[in-house]
Structure formats: C-alpha cells, structure tokens
C-alpha cells in the first residue's frame, strides 16, 4: 500500500511556544488516521500544516509524493508562490470545527464555488454534481437553504460536501463534531464513516473515542507537541503503553 501523507520531522512554533516538536507520521492510501490528545497537544496545528494553512519551521510534508508548500533544490526548501500552494490545496479537502460555510451563499452555492472558480466547470454541470454530493450527505432538499437556516449538523454535512466537491485525494477533519449539540454528532460521524468505508484517505482530529475505535486504522496519541504512541485502535485505546495515554483515556471515556 502506498503512502499518501509523509510527515518528516516537523517543527512549528508560535512565538516562543513550540507547539510541534518534531513530528514523524505516515498515512497510507485508503486509511483513516485519528489524532487524539488533550487540547494544546498540537494535533490541530499538525493537521493544518498538511495543507499549508500553517507553515512549518522545520521538516517537510508531502502528499501523494508532492512536497507541500515548498520546492526542493539541493539542501534547501524554497517557499512556493501562493498560486502553486492553492493548486496543491485543491487535492486536499479540509473540514473545520466551526464549519466556516459562506453565510451569504446557499448550501448548493457553497458546494459549487470551488469547482466553478478553481476548475472552471460550467455552472450547470457543477450544480448537478453539487446536488449529487448534497444527496450523498443526506441534504438533497436543503440545496437552496442558507447556512443560518440549517442546524449545526446539517451545516457540517454541507461543509463535508463542499470539501468533496474537488474530488480530493485526502480529507482532513479538524474536530468536526466539537461545535455540535450532542444529539447532532451522530449524523456527522455517520457521513464520515460512510466515506471511510468507501476507502477515502483521511486524517481526523477528534475527541470521539467511540468513533476512533470503530473507524480508525491507526490511532495517534499526541501530547505537548510530540507523538506519544500510535497503532491500531485496540492497541492504543485498550492497552496503551504510556502512562500519559492511560491518564488521558481515563478522563475522556
């Protein structure tokens, strides 16, 4: 199985605080990796470096063999112009904790924005595809609704449809259910599980241990900017080898 995401020795500081202290991680194609850890452990920052929403200070990340955000020449990494980074991002879907739907556009307009403006797809064609995506997340009847008219769970499902619209090779989820009322968490997780079953490669930052157990191929536990341990869910969640992991799990479960 080929490697989709290759993270090598990534360091990142905000001011004088080092939030990533040398991360090495590989994600194989078609697999689901769940990042767990206390807040401030650096998991969201790590996720955001994968599509270059955060720049790294040291180290390198490649997706499907392509270096993200930089061009290598000799022993140097030159930062790419924004145009190139934007092109790379179209291969990587990102779902935000707060959905970040465009509030002045309808659900369908949110979904077709990127295919029309980035891929140059004719609007009619993009809308047909957009409606299919909304149907896939169970919102065929909400195409013309504005985000403010949708529940949190529905908004997040539209956001997932929007992330899928460019047919990315990789999906990144940053705490996709943390901003939702408890009774709405299930509908969003169901959509993500469905994508996992269809072999979508994804990295999910979450606090939903049950979801990790059910869907993850690999669970990665992070603390204080480092990966503490990683492995199959039953190993990490049921027989953690590190005291720090045990302490965390005993508090969340």
């Amino acid at each position: 199985m080929s490697v989709m995401v290759d993270i090598k020795s990534v360091h990142k500081s905000f001011g004088s605080t080092e939030v990533l202290k040398g991360i090495d991680l590989q994600v194989r194609t078609g697999q689901v990796t769940v990042l767990l850890g206390p807040s401030g452990s650096g998991k969201s920052t790590l996720l955001r470096t994968v599509n270059h929403l955060e720049k790294v200070d040291r180290g390198a990340i490649s997706v499907d063999g392509t270096l993200i955000g930089y061009r290598r020449s000799g022993d140097r990494l030159h930062e790419l112009p924004e145009r190139e980074v934007l092109k790379q991002r179209t291969q990587i879907g990102f779902v935000f904790q707060n959905f970040n739907l465009f509030p002045h556009l309808t659900a369908l307009e949110n979904v077709v924005e990127a295919p029309v403006s980035v891929r140059g797809l004719p609007r009619a064609e993009a809308e047909a595809a957009g409606r299919r995506l909304l149907q896939r997340v169970g919102l065929a009847d909400k195409a013309d609704a504005y985000p403010a008219q949708l529940s949190g769970g529905q908004q997040q499902r539209v956001a997932i449809a929007r992330a899928l619209a460019l047919e990315p090779k990789l999906l990144l989820f940053d705490e996709p259910t943390s901003a939702l009322d408890p009774e709405l968490v299930g509908e969003v997780l169901d959509v993500i599980k469905d994508l996992a079953r269809q072999g979508t490669t994804m990295i999910v930052v979450t606090h939903e241990i049950g979801f990790a157990r059910e869907v993850a191929d690999t669970v990665v536990f992070m603390d204080a900017g480092r990966i503490v341990e990683q492995g199959p869910p039953d190993a990490v969640l049921d027989r953690p080898r590190h005291e720090r992991t045990r302490a965390f799990l005993s508090k969340v479960v």
Binding site: T90, G93, F96, N100, P103, H104, S117, Y146, A148
Partner: protein, 286 residues
C-alpha cells in the same frame, strides 16, 4: 410577526380546554407614551404655524426659485459631483484599505501615511491649496497650471482625496468584520486571492460597509457645498448668486435646504434596499 407567537398558541391549544376561571392577562398601560406623543404633536403644530405664518420666509419667493434654471443647474452639479467623488473616493479608499491589510510593509506604510495626511488637512484648506497650486508649480507638463486646475477639477481632486482617506477606514473596518475562518475556508478550497476577495470577503464586508458609506454619501452630498468657496456653481452657490442680487437671503437658503432634504430622503430609502440586499443569508432575513 414573530415565531414566539406561534409556539405560544401551539403550546396551549390542543387537548386541554381552557378553564374559564383562568385570569386574563392585561398588558401594562403606557401612559408616558401617549403624553409624549401629545407634547410632540403640540410643539410640531406650533413650529409649523410659525413657519407658515412668518412672512419673512417668503414662501412665494421659494416657490418661484425652487425649479428655476440656475437652481436646477446647481442641483445637477451637486448631484454629479457627489457621484463622481463617491465613486473615485471609494475606489481609491478600497485600494488603500487593501494596502493597509496587505502583508507588504511598504504598502501598509503608504496607506497609513495617506490616511494620516488627508485626515489631518481640513477640506477647506485643501481646496484652497489645490486652487492656488499654480503659486507652487506655475507650469506642469509644459502647460500653465491654472489652465489645468479649473475650479471643478480642483473640487473633484480635493474632495476625492479627502473622501478616500475616510472611505479607506470604512472599507478596512468592513474587511476586518469578516471572520478569519471564512478566508481560511476559501484558501483551503484553493480559491485565488481575487476570487476570495470578490466572492467571499467583499459581499460579507458590505454588510458593515453600507451603513457608514450611506452616512458618507449623505455627508458628501451636503459637504460639496464647500466648493462654493472656489466659485463652483453647486446648489448652494447658485442660490447665493441669486440672493447677492435680490437680497432674498432666507427664501433662497430655504430653496437649498429643501433640495438637500429631498435628495437625502431619496438616498436614505435607497440605502434601506442596499442593506436588505447584502443581508441575504443572515438570521434577520428569512
């Protein structure tokens, strides 16, 4: 009608019939409201009769000049000068706002310096300086400066530069009001810088830009009357030209006042519709 009305009806309506001994709810009596209304009506009536009965207003003269050619020509100049100054001022102001928020420190400094300078100079002083620019630079590009800078040109340049400094701050405020997550979402989708600005940031920023911009438009409409000092024949100056000959000062000032009021009213109605357009998708607009 609010949705809470509906829920109330629903909550009480079905199978439990109202017992007849449940006391009826009587809203609080608003005596203050009625007293205030009466006082305001009386004061308004007094003011109106005094305005109508005071012969010094000379309403007949007002009516004679209200649609006279020279007043209408002045009104037309005021209208197009306002439109041109607003359009140019906001175009330049938007550019300055984008500079100010750019990652480029040179552009940021240029924008900051511009706003600082043109907010510091009173518009009256600026108009007089441009009007007398020939004293500083008698010839530009081989032409006599005075020929190049006629009164109307000076009015457009001076008012636009002044307007742009304020417009820059209005537009910057609007851009800053857009949630950072919106830009990140657009970046994550690979939307180009121009597309992000045009499709995502600007439409949302407009909600915060329109009310102060409407304020500025109305301010500019009346503010253009300052060009009378450099003898541009706007609405105010045309009425002044008349009363300098006829000495009917008050009625001609009334002509100008009434026209400014009419145009401002029309603009206020327009602003309401523009605001409604940019409120689409928001909670208050369903």
């Amino acid at each position: 009608m609010s949705s809470s009305d509906i829920t109330l009806v629903k909550a009480t309506a079905p199978d439990t019939p109202e017992p007849s001994d449940v006391p009826r709810i009587v809203p609080q009596r608003r005596y203050g409201q009625w007293t205030a209304a009466a006082v305001v009506l009386v004061l308004l009536g007094l003011a109106l009769t005094s305005v109508v009965r005071n012969q010094a207003f000379q309403w007949g003269v007002v009516a004679d000049y209200f649609t006279s050619d020279s007043v209408l020509r002045g009104l037309w100049l005021t209208l197009w000068l306002t439109a041109v100054v607003m359009a140019l001022g906001f175009a330049l102001g938007t550019l300055l706002a984008v500079f100010r928020l750019s990652a480029n420190p040179v552009l940021r400094a240029v924008s900051w310096g511009y706003v600082w300078l043109f907010r510091s100079i009173p518009i009256l002083v600026q108009l007089l300086l441009w009007f007398n620019i020939g004293a500083l630079y008698p010839r530009v590009l081989g032409v006599q400066t005075v020929d190049l800078f006629g009164p109307v040109t000076v009015a457009i340049i001076g008012l636009t530069l002044h307007e742009a400094a304020y417009a820059a701050e209005v537009v910057r405020g609007g851009i800053l009001s857009v949630d950072r997550g919106q830009i990140e979402a657009a970046q994550a989708l690979g939307l180009s810088r121009w597309r992000r600005w045009r499709r995502i940031v600007l439409p949302q920023a407009m909600r915060s830009i329109v009310p102060p911009a409407g304020n500025m438009l109305i301010g500019t409409l009346k503010g253009t009357s300052i060009v009378s000092v450099i003898a541009v024949q706007d609405l105010l100056y045309s009425t002044q030209l008349i009363y300098h000959q006829t000495y009917q000062v008050i009625p001609l000032l009334m002509v100008a006042t009434l026209w400014y009021t009419v145009v401002t009213s029309v603009l206020s109605v327009g602003q309401h519709y523009v605001e409604r357009h940019y409120a689409r998708g928001s909670e208050s607009h369903r």
